[in-house]
Amino acid sequence: MRATLAIIFLAVVPAWAHHAFQAEFDSTKPIKLVGKVTDMEWINPHSWIHIDVTNPDGTVTNWMVECGSPNIMLRRGFTKRSLEVGTVLTIQGYQAKNGQNRANGSSVTFQDGKKLFVGGSNPDIPEDQK
């Protein structure tokens, strides 16, 4: 009887089941990218961060990284100015099935490991602009 308590509270719809990430990204192609932000699109249904990644051979590739709905971050006080161009980010996720330079951003952090958009505002923004 008590053992069944654990399953009572799980909502029937798992988080994010509404979006076919499995259809879009390849779980056999994990990626880790480090790059400089060139643009952030605060759009729905998911926002996209564009980063310039320097490849081992010195060439630069621009990647698009899919995050969540911007509405959540906007309600937390972040704005389109919160992620400055040039900020260095580390992205972990999976590459798009169609082979393009797109990935999902399951983990998006600054170089020191701090998560993007968690806690206070972007530390890269000068104090007087927060």
């Binding site: 605060w42 911007p70 906007l74 972040f78 704005t79 389109k80």
Partner: protein, 268 residues
């Protein structure tokens, strides 16, 4: 005798003046009042002109698909731009022309994208204004677009959107809406007239008689235009007893255009 004639003339003049005053008083229409004492603009309206085809003067012209015959052709129309033509910067003219040349696939309307402001107000479908204590709601048919105009302390947008950030206030019986935070992706019309995300629109809605609003929209975008410019037009109240908005979601009608090339081709 002369006194009599002068008296009659005097009375006649007085009567003429009184009736002139009376008709000018009745010509000064006062809109009915909303629950909060402001002019009541609530109702269902529709623009009846060719602004959605082309804001500027244009002759009738062929459409983008001859297969639809005359149905797909474009009617002529007179400019709703008060200055006549839209004052593009020289370097912006080429982009407008490119938009026009590619309009069959480039017009965001073709893709069922939300029309933005001001275009939503003069698309050829009814829209509804609802004045509520929480703000003034504009509900449009096309693409289920809508906007809630904030009538309190003006707010700033956190990000750019298709329908903009709308801050309104009253100037007498005129509703003035200041629109910022537009994303620069909507067009003004099917002819490719456009602006950037720096576009700032100030609209004025006035009820001039029981059946018409006057709509004015002033545009400002120094990255695209040499100076501000303005459009104006009447908006006609729908008087059918059963007038209501219908759904026009249109995404399902745009999918083949947007994604048809990515479908699985039947194997040969």
């Amino acid at each position: 005798m002369r006194v009599l004639v002068l008296t009659i003339v005097a009375f006649w003049l007085a009567a003429a003046q009184a009736s002139a005053q009376a008709s000018s008083q009745s010509a000064a229409y006062r809109a009915p009042r909303s629950f909060d004492g402001h002019a009541d603009l609530s109702g269902i309206y529709q623009a009846v002109n060719t602004a959605n085809w082309d804001l500027e003067d244009h002759s009738p012209r062929a459409g983008t698909m001859w297969e639809t015959g005359a149905i797909g052709s474009e009617p002529g129309g007179q400019s709703v731009v008060e200055e006549g033509a839209i004052p593009y910067k020289p370097e912006a003219v080429a982009k407008k022309k490119a938009n026009f040349d590619h309009r069959r696939t480039a017009d965001p309307e073709a893709k069922c994208y939300m029309p933005g402001i001001p275009r939503a107000n003069y698309m050829p479908y009814p829209f509804q204004i609802l004045q509520t204590p929480r703000g003034i709601m504009f509900v449009y048919e096309f693409a289920s677009a809508n906007r809630l105009v904030n009538m309190g302390k003006p707010e700033e947008a956190g990000s750019d959107t298709w329908m903009g950030t709308n801050n309104g206030h009253w100037e007498g019986d005129t509703l003035v809406i200041d629109v910022t935070g537009l994303n620069g992706l909507a067009w003004f019309d099917r002819a490719g007239n456009y602006a950037s995300s720096h576009l700032h629109v100030v609209e004025r809605f006035t009820r001039v008689d029981p059946y018409h609003l006057t709509y004015e929209a002033a545009m400002e975008d120094p990255t695209v235009f040499t100076r501000p410019w303005k459009i104006s037009m009447p908006l006609y109240r729908k008087v059918e007893k059963n007038a209501q908005l219908l759904e026009f979601k249109c995404v399902e009608f745009a999918e083949e255009l947007l994604y048809g090339q990515y479908k699985k081709q039947p194997s040969k």
